[in-house]
């Protein structure tokens, strides 16, 4: 069993990670961090920088947590990547960060969180940025 967290380098993403660490420690399971990009644009600010990911990779063991970091870039959207990972790693919980979106914005862009909430087979914990 694992805890899967969809990470983006934003306040929402950080909040999700913090919460996921708490959950993973509580149930003593592996934390699977997903930070994906479709790789379509030359620049993707939601794809964390190598340095940030290394920092996280160093921080997690010091908190006594087993972890796995995955950074797929294969043209799939973030929801699909998180759901894939949840299935593959037999997740007991998915943690995601929520951000405020106007209804119109949601209509145009679709919502990653919404897709995960609707399609996941396990409980989903959605947190907001503090």
């Amino acid at each position: 069993m694992t805890v899967v967290v969809g990470y983006v380098p934003t306040p929402e993403g950080e909040a999700a990670l913090t919460q996921a660490i708490t959950e993973a420690r509580r149930s003593n399971t592996t934390l699977v961090l997903i930070n994906s990009s479709k790789g379509e644009a030359a620049v993707d600010d939601r794809f964390a920088e190598e340095g940030d990911i290394q920092d996280i990779g160093e921080r997690l063991p010091s908190q006594g947590i087993q972890y796995l970091i995955k950074r797929p870039v294969r043209g799939h959207d973030a929801a699909a990547e998180v759901l894939d990972a949840a299935e593959e790693h037999n997740a007991e919980l998915i943690v995601i960060g929520l951000r405020r979106r106007t209804p119109v914005g949601k209509l145009i862009m679709g919502s990653t969180s919404q897709r995960i909430l609707l399609e996941a087979d396990c409980p989903v914990l959605a947190v907001k940025a503090r």
């Binding site: 790789g39 379509e40 030359a42 043209g75 799939h76």
Partner: protein, 167 residues
Amino acid sequence: MTSLTTGLKGRSELGVALLLGAAGVLVFLDANGLVTPYSKSDPVGPKTVPFIVAGMLEVCAVLLALNVLRGGKGEAEGGEDVDLAHPADWKTILPLAGAFILNILLIDWAGWVISGTILFWGSVLALGSRHYVRDGLISVALSLLTFYGFYLGLGIALPAGLLEGIL
């Protein structure tokens, strides 16, 4: 060079030398085939420059082959959006070329709107986009826009092909 021995492996650049050599021979044979009586008003004639070019190509071919065999290597061109760390992605190139060739075959018969749509849609697909419907709509819109834009704006009538009469 019928069999690719291990010594030639990783020396695909020899192909470039081969191409240069072949181009040189071609230029030479072509120029040699020209029949020109000597004329006072044109002492150089149409053959001289091709001969020089052919010679230059042959010299380059030989030198390049030597250079490659001695371990020389051409520096692949970098760029803003280029990552030379991974090998060439033939799964992208071949479908791209396929879309291009399809366009060549279709353009006169089916018309620009259809062939252009196939070209753009196929290219986008080859390049890894997975929004089939959205891509399709954009392709059609782009082809139609350029068709009418060229006709109305530039006075160039691109072929209408199968859609003759409809457009």
